[in-house]
């Protein structure tokens, strides 16, 4: 360890999210959520929205709090909250809409009842699987995967000198791969992709791709990017002096140069807006929506080590938003 590595700037190394992801401590948020739901429950003639959490915790509670806060005050909804991981079975009957938080809740809800299901905090791959399982049931989904174009715009802004961008995909993630190739060209990058069947192929694939590409885009795929592979991916990429664009704040803290991501609050807010749009839950659109609200995190230490001059996270977010507003 370098004993002189202490002079780094305060901002360096700590990702710079455009907003803090959680405004309140988890405990407070739970209380707020509880109070909010209790007050909504008082209305007895309203349509019932059953929120099923896969596993209550900081992430899913933040979603619930933002969802509750985002519902239009004029509409009288009856909110009920349940947890899959609790000791009691979850009673679904009577619910006019099920909001399933997390993949486990979404799977259970999509297969276990007739009410329309709005699934959130799930991946695109999960949403695709759910849709095949849901049959004729109404199923709306808000995924955590950012639009590929948004991720590639971030790539362009963070590594403006890069000409070639690469990404790794699991063997079943063909849709994302074609999206990557298509959108990379839209932002002026030459894409190179590879598909791998298991983790054992990851090392060789990284060596091959990193030698000829100037940026690695981590596309959400649990088969490839997980806590077990992070060490190897980030160290190998750094060895090739290739920046990694991540998909979560944690990945930026770990060593990705930047990421575009949505916090649970952002998805909760979007879910509430979707509910507010509807006059009848039975008409829930069978759609998979990408995140509307997003944040940027930048790792200054890594960008400096790679000799890249990155903008402030907020400036990058603004630049992407203005590009997205353009027709």
């Amino acid at each position: 360890m370098n004993r002189d590595s202490i002079l780094r700037a305060a901002s360096i190394g700590t990702p710079r999210p455009t907003k803090t992801p959680a405004g309140l401590a988890p405990g407070w948020r739970r209380c707020l959520c509880a109070a909010l739901l209790c007050s909504v429950l008082a209305s007895s003639h309203a349509a019932e929205i059953l929120i099923i959490q896969s596993r209550p915790g900081e992430v899913q509670d933040a979603f619930v709090a933002a969802f509750g806060a985002g519902l239009k005050p004029g509409k009288s909804h009856r909110l009920r909250i349940a947890s899959l991981s609790g000791p009691d079975p979850v009673a679904v009957a009577g619910a006019d809409l099920v909001v399933a938080v997390g993949a486990a809740a979404a799977r259970a809800a999509a297969t276990g009842n007739d009410a329309p299901v709005l699934a959130a905090l799930i991946s695109q791959q999960e949403a695709t699987t759910l849709r095949t399982q849901a049959g004729n049931r109404r199923l709306g989904a808000i995924v955590l995967d950012q639009p590929m174009l948004r991720t590639l715009r971030l790539t362009r802004l963070v590594a403006p000198g890069a000409r070639r961008a690469t990404a790794l995909f699991g063997s079943e993630n063909t849709a994302a791969e074609s999206q990557f190739r298509l959108n990379a060209k839209r932002v002026g990058l030459i894409p190179e992709t590879t598909r791998i069947d298991d983790e054992g192929q990851l090392g060789a694939a990284l060596d091959r791709l990193l030698q000829s590409n100037q940026v690695l885009v981590a596309v959400p795929d649990g088969q490839i990017f997980n806590r077990n592979t992070a060490m190897s991916i980030l160290l190998t990429s750094y060895r090739y002096r290739t920046p990694v664009i991540g998909f979560s704040e944690a990945y930026v803290r770990a060593g990705a140069i930047a990421a575009v991501f949505s916090a649970p609050d952002d998805i909760g807010r979007q879910a509430a807006e979707w509910v507010n749009e509807m006059s009848d839950f039975a008409q829930l659109a069978d759609q998979t929506r990408e995140p509307r609200y997003f944040r940027i995190a930048v790792n200054d230490r890594v960008s400096q080590a790679l000799g890249l001059e990155t903008q402030d996270a907020e400036a990058i977010a603004q630049a992407i938003r203005s590009e997205e507003r353009r027709p």
């Binding site: 305060a10 079975p89 979850v90 997390g102 993949a103």
Partner: protein, 675 residues
């Protein structure tokens, strides 16, 4: 949530079983987006950014190592501004910074992955024995000035930290074959485990031979052979913890010396070296970490016990054994956006044994401890103030405190001005403090070599420097420049003193005792080498480094140092000190990417006239140009490569001692196959 739990449905409820989903599935949904990931590129894993460092830093990265064409570690330091490198036949190559270099370069602290590898007896570095091949190096971070505040005594003229490639960045197998001028042959193999497993490992082994010097007019030649085996294991038991194990061994021999010489008899010296390093690191944040590291290393020299001298064989014990055990605890923490702190403690035990050098069969050395700390305060975005200090108790020098103060002022995001000042020490080594080197037969002493008869003070340097480090992103250019002043005193000199006249090569130090009475009449050599604090010099100079790289084209790295040394001590001190650095040193490396996997690089190294001290001598102004041509082939990313390097296109040049050693031009071919 309990107060709001909905009443259990009395209706015909369709119930979702609470535990119908296994936990692993639950963790697999949003986990990917929200799960904690181990912090990988933390401050300690990234090279120090020159613009943020409180000291002048040069990083020799992997690309530069490849382009240089150098296959020996010490040669890579030719790329560092102000660094001087030489080789001689009587021992290891030697490296110094800004002068004061001699056969046993001991004023630089050298580490491999944080493990100090300086020899406990000479204080120098046995570059040829290090259980490490150039191919295994990820990068070398060099502090180009005194840094006792961070690393303690002996980080005197600089610190060299060699960082090896992580087992997590390699997989597969590689075999390297190398053949060159004067039997410089090498065969090496590396085998790495899958890099995505929680346990990453690498085994490497190599065997190398070289005729470094041919015997010439009574001067020693040097032929070496080394076999090296190395094991690296990294385990990640939790997201925050990592355990490291490294172990290695070197065996081989040096064939050197002069027939009939008492001090350097011709023969084969067998070398054995082992090390074990264990480390635990807990990552507490991107800039916060706790680490505990232990290492053991030992080294042995075994040489023929019979010195042929004037027709008879004199049985003499020429063995030299040393060992070191070292434990270090270090804690870094960002306390707030403005404050960062580093705290550490170390404990080390050194032991050296040599009948020849101590005329005793005891261990010499001792236990030393150190406490170090560094605090950085950033009162504004632009300004950083660093205060550091190292308090230690050295077994030869007692308590020493090395302080440093540095101020960095950011001009923009990637450029800063730096001013730093401080004091560093060099504690005398075992041979300077305790040696009484004798060669004899039975009880009859024929010659005395080194004799540490006088108590010594540690060498001291007080330094001040002003520097600029930054990056011009639009030009892809990194710049580093500084001016410095280093005032040395208590310089430890070793000079021949003649018994008969009392004449030393320098003013006889107080306490000079002449020939030991008990040996009078038996000595075949009329002088000894005494050590004394005898010299003070002030070194001033300027140096810069420009590093320009363009993907698809290549890279140009230019380093330049101007050094001036002035004697500031008492009359009678060695006047050669003033000549111990070239006035000007230049290195230029140009690398070009060519089509079809070809790459060409040209290295030019030039130094004006200088004098290596003690066993060394004058080296006239000389230049050396190396040319490397390489081609990568096979599966992309697997790094199979063929390379041809032409060294010293200008022809032979004098090395270390103009009259004694010539560095010949040569050709080196290598083939690396990886799969």
């Amino acid at each position: 949530m309990q107060p709001c739990r909905a009443p259990r449905a009395a209706r015909t409820a369709m119930c979702l079983a609470a535990l119908s989903m296994p936990l692993a599935v639950v963790a697999a949904d949003d986990a990917m987006f929200f799960e904690a990931v181990p912090l990988v590129l933390t401050a300690s894993r990234l090279p120090q950014a020159a613009a943020d460092a409180p000291a002048p830093i040069t990083v020799i990265d992997r690309q530069l190592i490849d382009d240089s064409g150098f296959t020996e570690l010490h040669d890579l330091l030719r790329l560092v501004p102000g660094f001087m490198v030489a080789d001689w036949a009587g021992g290891s190559p030697t490296v110094a910074n800004h002068g004061l270099g001699d056969a046993y370069g001991r004023r630089l602290k050298v580490m491999i992955d944080g493990r100090t590898v300086n020899n406990p007896f000479w204080g120098n570095v046995d570059w040829q024995d290090l259980p490490l091949r150039v191919d295994d190096v990820e990068r070398i971070e060099v502090v180009r000035g005194p840094n006792g505040a961070a690393y303690g005594a002996n980080a005197f003229q600089g610190v060299i930290n060699i960082i090896t490639r992580s087992a997590r960045t390699e997989s597969g197998t590689a075999v390297t074959l190398r053949a060159g001028h004067r039997e410089a042959n090498e065969v090496a193999a590396r085998l790495s485990g899958p890099r995505t497993e929680a346990l990453a490992w690498r085994i490497s082994a190599s065997r190398r031979t070289a005729d470094n010097f041919m015997p010439y007019e009574g001067e020693s030649g040097e032929k070496i052979e080394r076999s090296v085996a190395n094991l690296q294991i990294a385990i990640q038991p939790t997201l925050r913890d990592e355990l490291h194990l490294q172990a290695g061994a070197t065996t081989g021999f040096n064939l050197s010396g002069v027939v009939g010489s008492l001090s350097d008899p011709f023969g084969k010296t067998r070398i054995g070296r082992n090390y074990l390093q264990l480390g635990w690191t807990r990552t507490l944040g991107p800039e916060s970490e706790l680490s505990l590291q232990y290492h053991h290393q030992d080294r042995s020299e075994r040489k023929s016990w019979a010195i042929p001298f004037r027709g008879i064989d004199i049985p003499t014990d020429l063995d030299l054994d040393s060992r070191r055990d070292d434990l270090e605890l270090q804690f870094t923490q960002r306390l707030s956006p403005a404050w960062h702190i580093l705290l550490g403690a170390g404990l080390r035990h050194d032991a050296v044994k040599s009948q020849r050098y101590f005329t005793a069969n005891d261990d010499f050395g001792g236990t030393q401890w150190q406490l170090f700390s560094s605090v950085t305060w950033r009162p504004s975005e632009r300004l950083a103030v660093n205060l550091g200090g190292n308090l230690e108790h050295h077994y030869f020098s007692g308590k020493l405190f090395s302080p440093r103060a540095a101020v960095n002022y950011r001009l923009d995001h990637y450029a800063s001005l730096r001013a730093s000042t401080g004091i560093s020490y060099r504690a005398p080594q075992a041979w300077e403090s305790r040696s009484f080197e004798t060669v004899g037969e039975g009880g009859r002493v024929l010659a005395i070599g080194y004799w540490a008869a006088l108590p010594l003070q540690p060498e001291r340097v007080r330094f001040v420097e002003l520097g600029f480090a930054g990056r011009i992103a639009t030009l892809s250019l990194d710049l580093d420049a500084r001016v410095f002043r280093e005032a040395y005193d208590n310089y430890i000199d070793d000079q021949a003193c003649r018994f008969a006249s009392g004449n030393c090569g320098f003013a006889a130090p107080p306490g000079y005792v002449g020939a030991p009475p008990s040996y009078s009449g038996t000595l075949n050599k009329s002088y000894v080498f005494y050590f004394g604090n005898n010299g003070a010099v002030t070194t001033t100079g300027a140096e810069f480094r420009a590093d320009w790289r363009k993907p698809g084209w290549g890279r140009v790295v230019l380093s330049q140092a101007f050094v001036n040394i002035e004697n500031t001590g008492l009359p009678g001190q060695d006047i050669d000190l003033e000549a111990s650095a070239p006035d000007s040193m230049t290195s230029l490396l140009i690398a070009a990417e060519l089509p079809a996997g070809w790459r060409a690089s040209l290295g030019f190294y030039h130094a004006t006239r200088m004098k290596w001290l003690n066993d060394g001598d004058v080296i006239p102004s000389h230049g050396r140009t190396d040319l490397k041509l390489s081609r990568r082939f096979g599966k992309t990313g697997r790094e199979s490569e063929f390379a041809l390097t032409l060294q010293s296109l200008e022809g032979d040049y004098a090395d270390f001692h103009e009259g004694n050693y010539l560095h010949e031009s040569g050709v080196l071919a290598s083939l690396k196959l990886a799969w």
